[in-house]
């Protein structure tokens, strides 16, 4: 039972961190692209 509990903690924390990382990267990429586009030289 304790082992299953460990597995469940691993599942919950693992998936949470994965989604947090991907979410953070989406936000960073979104705003970074906007900022970079504003400062990049125009044709």
């Amino acid at each position: 039972m304790a082992q299953i509990e460990q597995g469940l903690i691993l599942l919950a924390v693992g998936m949470a961190v994965l989604f947090i990382f991907m979410g953070l990267m989406i936000v960073i990429l979104h705003y970074f692209q906007k900022i970079a586009a504003r400062f990049s030289p125009k044709d």
Binding site: Q3, G7, L11, G14, M15, L18, F21, M25, H30, S40
Partner: protein, 382 residues
């Protein structure tokens, strides 16, 4: 004297048992799969030949006159030290083009969703009696990421390195066989026919150059244990995108990746000695590895279907894209595009699939880092 000479020459023959012969057959089967079926030949052929080599009489390639043999030297220097898998990551990083992902960053979510199988399989493996560390090594097979699998297994269950590596690389090559039936079982034809809008806007160069640096810093803030994995992957990518190191980028993608792959394959085979490989446990690893792969594929597809519930009719996602959230790049995206074309010869979803696929590469590395960090914490509390 004559007796000693006879004993010397018969020692090799007498040391061969049924187990060794079985390993020769397994090695031959891997070589056959590599040559005839073209299943990951760059890895399965060296692994297959190495499996024969390591089980030759008296195991002289492993140890001779009490000194380490060539395979033991390569194994210690390349696998146990983690040098080979990390060098491979430089090559992989240099091969990956993240620009499709910059057009559609939200597809990164699939790189997370399609890794649920790793953690679910850990629970299943523990229910079958494996301890947490062994279960983590088996679960990570589902990530379809060889170097990450090696590093996690080397850390937690060195004894299982042989079977886990062979299973992991075999399943990676079987993506075209494993994924389609899972996807078809979970989607309707109507869903598979969904077309996705093409996005094409200019990506500033500063974004492509900053991306590997930002990913490295952000991921290591969250999972410091993953620093070697993500760091080397992103270093390779920086070589590619910086635009001033064409030669190094090309070397990383070709010469470095090829040389290390060659050495990696034959070194991994060093852990395929008959006694360690021919166990009931190997069959269990094969079954659980397959389960991990299937759950990962299903996780991505079901997550796409979940998102579709909240999207307007015109913006629905083709759920097959979700299956590309695994690390098997670019094989998985090719398989999904092929499936899409089978149902509708004009449905081009390749760039969306590639975007999910490259985020799957990131996801598998983060998942590996998470296992390296969390498993000792949880195991310590046992």
């Amino acid at each position: 004297m004559l007796e000693e000479i006879v004993r010397f020459f018969s020692a090799g023959i007498l040391s061969i048992g049924l187990k060794e012969i079985a390993m020769y057959l397994i090695g031959a089967a891997l070589i056959w799969l590599a040559i005839e079926k073209d299943y990951e030949p760059m890895l399965l052929l060296p692994i297959g030949f190495g499996a024969i080599l390591i089980n030759l009489p008296l195991g002289t390639v492993w140890e001779m006159y009490g000194e380490p043999g060539i395979l033991q030297t390569l194994f210690n220097a390349g696998i146990l030290s983690e040098v080979f898998p990390l060098l491979i990551f430089i090559g992989v990083g240099a091969m990956i083009d993240f620009s499709p992902l910059f057009q559609r960053p939200w597809l990164m979510l699939f790189g997370a969703a399609a890794h649920i199988g790793i953690f679910v399989t850990v629970i299943i493996a523990m229910a079958f009696g494996y301890d947490l560390k062994e279960a983590a090594c088996i679960g990570v097979i589902g990530a379809a990421d060889g170097p990450t699998t090696i590093i996690v297994t080397k850390q937690f269950a060195k004894d299982l390195l042989g079977p886990i590596m062979v299973v992991a690389y075999s399943y990676m090559s079987l993506v075209p066989i494993i994924q389609p039936p899972v996807i078809r079982a979970l989607t309707t034809k109507k869903e598979r026919l969904i077309r996705m809008q093409a996005v094409d806007h200019q990506i500033p160069r500063s974004v492509t150059i900053s991306f590997p640096i930002i990913v490295t810093i952000v991921s290591c803030l969250l999972v410091p244990m993953g620093a070697p994995l993500i760091g080397f992957l992103m270093f390779g990518n920086l070589l590619r995108v910086c635009g001033v190191l064409e030669k190094l980028s090309s070397t990383a993608q070709n010469e470095l990746a090829n040389i290390v792959t060659l050495l990696l394959g034959i070194s991994v085979a060093a852990s395929m000695r008959a006694d360690a490989f021919l166990r009931l446990e190997t069959l269990g690893i094969m079954a659980l590895g397959l389960i991990a792969f299937i759950i990962n594929t299903a996780g991505g597809v079901l997550f796409a279907k979940l998102i579709n519930l909240f999207l307007p009719k015109t913006k629905k996602i083709n759920p097959m894209i979700g299956a590309c959230g695994i690390s098997a790049f670019p094989m998985s995206s090719r398989v999904i595009q092929k499936m899409a074309l089978k149902d509708d010869p004009h449905n081009i979803i390749l760039m969306h699939a590639v975007s999910a696929n490259v985020s799957g590469q990131l996801g598998s590395v983060i998942a590996g880092g998470l296992l390296l960090a969390l498993v000792p914490l949880l195991a310590g509390g046992m």
